[in-house]
C-alpha cells in the first residue's frame, strides 16, 4: 500500500494522488502482493498457481457481485451462504432428471429466497440486515433438512465439468465467473434496471417521487443476488464433487461483503464498482493464499487479514464531499 503523501497545502500532485488512490488503491495492493510473492514465495509465478487462485476465488466473486448490487441499494444480504446451501441441497435430489433440471431447481430456490428477502425489505419495510438474518438462520436449517443431513457424492460428469472442466485451457468455473462479471457490469452501466438501482441507493424517497418502481426494483435486486448465490452454490458443489448443505458457503457473506467494500463500493449505497469488487475478492484471496503458502497459523492469518482490510478500506474510503 503506498502511503499518502502528507502536505500542508494541497498541491496538484497530492490532489491527484488522493483522487487516484480510492479508485485504484486496491489494484495497487494486488500488484504489491503479487510482487512480494514472486520474490518470497516459491513456485508462485506459475500458471497452475494462478489457475488455482482463480478457481478458488470464482465462487466468492460471483456472490460478491450480487452483494455489490444489494449494497448499491443501501442494503445488505446475510443470507447468501444459506442460499448456496439450499442450491447444494437440491442438486443431488434433481440430478436424476438431468443436469439442466437440477440447475433450474437450484436457481429457483435462489429466486424464492431472494423474493422473500426482497418482499421483507421492499414491502414490509424491514431493515435489510434483519430481513436477511431470518433466512440466514432458517435457510441453512431448511437446506440441511432437505438433504437429511447427508453429504452426497456427485458423480454426474456433465455436472462436474462445470466445476473441474477446462475450456480453451481455462477452467469453466472461471469462464462462468468472468461472464457474470461482464453481465453484471453491463447491467449496472447500461440497463434501466441498473440505473434505477443506483438511484434508489442514492436517494430512495427521491426515486419514489420520481415515479420509479422502487419496490419492484428492490425485490429484483434481492432476487438477482440470491440467484447469483445459488449459481455459486451449484458451482461449489460441482467443484468439490459432493453436496454438503451444512458446510457449503459457510461465512461467505462476510467474505463477499469484505470484497465489495475493499473494492471501493460504499456501504451507503448509490454506487456499485463491479471491477473493484472482483479486485477486492482477488486481494483477499491472495492474502489468504500467501498466508497458507507460508504455513502461518490461523491466528496470524486472521490478524493480518484484519490489518489488510483496514488499510485497503482506509485508502479507498470516500472523502466526504458534501
Amino acid at each position: 500500500m503506498s502511503t499518502e503523501t502528507v502536505a500542508t497545502r494541497p498541491t496538484l500532485d497530492t490532489a491527484r494522488l488522493k483522487a487516484w488512490l480510492p479508485k485504484y488503491g486496491v489494484y495497487a495492493a494486488i500488484v504489491l502482493l503479487v510482487v512480494y510473492n514472486i520474490f518470497f514465495t516459491p513456485y508462485f509465478a506459475t500458471w497452475s498457481n494462478l489457475r488455482i487462485q482463480l478457481i478458488q476465488v470464482a465462487p466468492i466473486v460471483i456472490v460478491a457481485l450480487g452483494m455489490a448490487l444489494v449494497i448499491g441499494t443501501e442494503g445488505i444480504d446475510l443470507s447468501v451462504g444459506s442460499v448456496m446451501a439450499l442450491a447444494a441441497a437440491f442438486i443431488p435430489l434433481y440430478l436424476g432428471y438431468g443436469v439442466v433440471a437440477a440447475i433450474i431447481v437450484a436457481l429457483l430456490a435462489g429466486v424464492a429466497v431472494g423474493f422473500i428477502n426482497g418482499v421483507l425489505v421492499a414491502k414490509v419495510g424491514l431493515q435489510p440486515i434483519v430481513a436477511t438474518l431470518a433466512l440466514f438462520v432458517g435457510g441453512r436449517g431448511l437446506a440441511v433438512v432437505i438433504s437429511e443431513g447427508k453429504l452426497v457424492d456427485i458423480r454426474n460428469s456433465d455436472f462436474l465439468y462445470l466445476g473441474s472442466g477446462d475450456l480453451l485451457g481455462i477452467p469453466v468455473l472461471v469462464w462462468i465467473a468472468a461472464a457474470l462479471v461482464l453481465v453484471v457490469g453491463f447491467v449496472v452501466r447500461r440497463t434501466v434496471f441498473g440505473r434505477r438501482l443506483l438511484a434508489i441507493g442514492g436517494n430512495r424517497p427521491a426515486a419514489e417521487l420520481a415515479g420509479l418502481p422502487v419496490k419492484r426494483v428492490l425485490i429484483m435486486v434481492y432476487v438477482v443476488c440470491a440467484v447469483l448465490a445459488s449459481i455459486a452454490g451449484l458451482l461449489s458443489v460441482a467443484r468439490i464433487q459432493s453436496s454438503d448443505a451444512s458446510s457449503v458457503g459457510l461465512l461467505i457473506e462476510l467474505s463477499a461483503i469484505t470484497a465489495v467494500v475493499v473494492g471501493g463500493t460504499p456501504l451507503t449505497g448509490g454506487k456499485v464498482r463491479v471491477l473493484g469488487t472482483v479486485a477486492g475478492a482477488m486481494l483477499m484471496q491472495l492474502v489468504i493464499a500467501t498466508m497458507i503458502k507460508h504455513n502461518l497459523q490461523p491466528s496470524t492469518t486472521e490478524m493480518v487479514q484484519a490489518v489488510i482490510i483496514l488499510i485497503a478500506v482506509y485508502v479507498a474510503r470516500e472523502r466526504k464531499t458534501r
Binding site: Q127, L133, F136, G138, I309, Y314, R317, K320
Partner: protein, 337 residues
C-alpha cells in the same frame, strides 16, 4: 400542551396539538414496547402450554443464560443509536473470557481488569478509526472481529489451550446466587439501570441520540460527535469483555470455541427491541425485551423437545421473521396518518 404564548404574539404553530400529540405518543410507545408486547404474548402461550416452563428454576436459568448477551446487546444499543454497528463483540466476548480465565491466577480483580483493558482498547481502536477516518463501522468492526479472534487464538496456542479459572472468588461469582438468582443477573441488572440513566439523563446520552439522529446537525450544534462515537465503541468493547469475564466465571474456564454469530444475535435483539439501525432512536428497555425474547424462544424450542436440530434452525429463523414483521406492523399501524 400548555399554552404560554403571550397575548400579543400570535401562535405560529397552530396545529391540532391534541391529536398530533396523541398519535406521537402511541407511535412512540408501541415502537418502544412492541417487543415487550410480543414477549408477553409468547410468555402467556408458553406458560399455558409447557408445564416445565413454569418453574422458578427455569426462569432463573433463562436469566442467567441471558446475562452475557444482555451486556453485549446493551453496548450494541448504544452503538446502534449513534447509527453505527459493532461486529467485533462476539470475538471480544471470547477474548474477554480467555483473558479473564488466564488473569484469574492473579486474583479476581485482575480477572476483570485485564479483559476490560484489552477489550476496551480494541473498542477504542474501533472508535478512533470510525470517528476520525470516516471508515464504515461495519467494515472497521469486521476487521476487529478477525483481529480479536486472531489475538485470542494467538494467546491460547491456536485455541487449544483452555485456561482454568484459578480464583475461587471468581468461580463463586459465576455460580453463586442471591435470592436464588445468579449474581451475574444482579450485576447485569445494575449495569442496565445505569445504562438507562446514562442514555436518558446525561449529556452523553443526549449526544448519542443527536449523533445518530443527524451527525451533521449534531456537530454544528456543538455536540462532540467524534468523542461520542469513540466512547460508544469503547463502551461496547468494555461490555463485551465484561460479558466474557462473567461467562468465564460461570464456566470456570476460558473456553475458546464460543461466540460465533453472537454479534448477529445482539443486533437482532436490539432491532427487535425497536431501535432503528439507522440511528437516532431506541431504548434499552426494548433491548431487554429483545434479548429475553430470543432467550425464551430458545427455551421453548427445547421444551417442544426432540426436534431435529435443523428444524430448530428453521423454526428460529421463521420466528425471528415473524417477530420482526409483527413489530414493524405494530409500529406501522399507527403511522398511517
Amino acid at each position: 400542551m400548555t399554552n404560554i404564548s403571550g397575548p400579543e404574539t400570535p401562535a405560529i404553530v397552530a396545529e391540532d396539538v391534541r391529536k398530533a400529540e396523541r398519535t406521537d405518543r402511541i407511535v412512540g410507545t408501541v415502537q418502544r414496547q412492541g417487543a415487550l408486547a410480543v414477549l408477553i404474548v409468547v410468555l402467556v402461550i408458553a406458560l399455558a402450554s409447557f408445564p416445565n416452563f413454569r418453574s422458578f428454576d427455569n426462569a432463573a436459568t433463562i436469566l442467567v443464560a441471558a446475562a452475557p448477551p444482555m451486556l453485549i446487546a446493551l453496548g450494541m444499543t448504544f452503538v446502534i443509536i449513534t447509527g453505527g454497528i459493532d461486529l467485533s463483540v462476539g470475538s471480544l466476548y471470547v477474548l474477554g473470557g480467555v483473558l479473564a480465565a488466564w488473569a484469574s491466577q492473579y486474583g479476581i480483580l485482575a480477572a476483570f481488569l485485564l479483559p476490560l483493558a484489552v477489550c476496551g482498547a480494541i473498542g477504542l481502536a474501533n472508535g478512533l478509526l470510525i470517528a476520525y477516518t470516516r471508515m464504515a463501522p461495519f467494515i472497521v468492526t469486521l476487521a476487529a472481529l478477525l483481529g480479536a479472534r486472531g489475538l485470542m487464538r494467538a494467546i491460547s496456542s491456536e485455541g487449544s489451550n483452555t485456561y482454568l479459572v484459578q480464583s475461587d472468588a471468581l468461580r463463586k461469582l459465576g455460580n453463586g446466587s442471591f435470592l436464588d438468582i445468579g449474581y451475574q443477573v444482579w450485576l447485569v441488572a445494575a449495569l442496565v439501570v445505569i445504562g438507562m440513566v446514562v442514555l436518558a439523563r446525561t449529556r452523553f446520552g443526549s449526544s448519542i441520540y443527536a449523533v445518530g439522529g443527524s451527525e451533521d446537525a449534531a456537530s454544528l450544534m456543538g455536540v462532540p460527535v467524534r468523542r461520542t462515537k469513540v466512547w460508544v465503541y469503547v463502551l461496547s468493547g468494555l461490555l463485551a469483555g465484561l460479558a466474557g469475564a462473567i461467562n468465564a466465571a460461570k464456566l470456570g474456564s476460558g473456553v475458546t470455541v464460543l461466540g460465533t454469530g453472537m454479534e448477529l444475535d445482539a443486533i437482532a435483539a436490539v432491532v427487535i427491541g425497536g431501535t432503528l439501525l439507522t440511528g437516532g432512536a431506541g431504548t434499552i428497555a426494548g433491548t431487554i425485551a429483545g434479548v429475553l425474547l430470543l432467550g425464551v424462544i430458545q427455551n421453548l424450542i427445547n421444551q417442544v423437545g426432540n426436534l431435529n436440530s435443523n428444524w430448530q434452525q428453521v423454526i428460529s429463523g421463521t420466528f425471528l421473521a415473524l417477530v420482526v414483521v409483527a413489530q414493524t406492523y405494530l409500529v406501522r399501524l399507527r403511522r398511517v396518518t
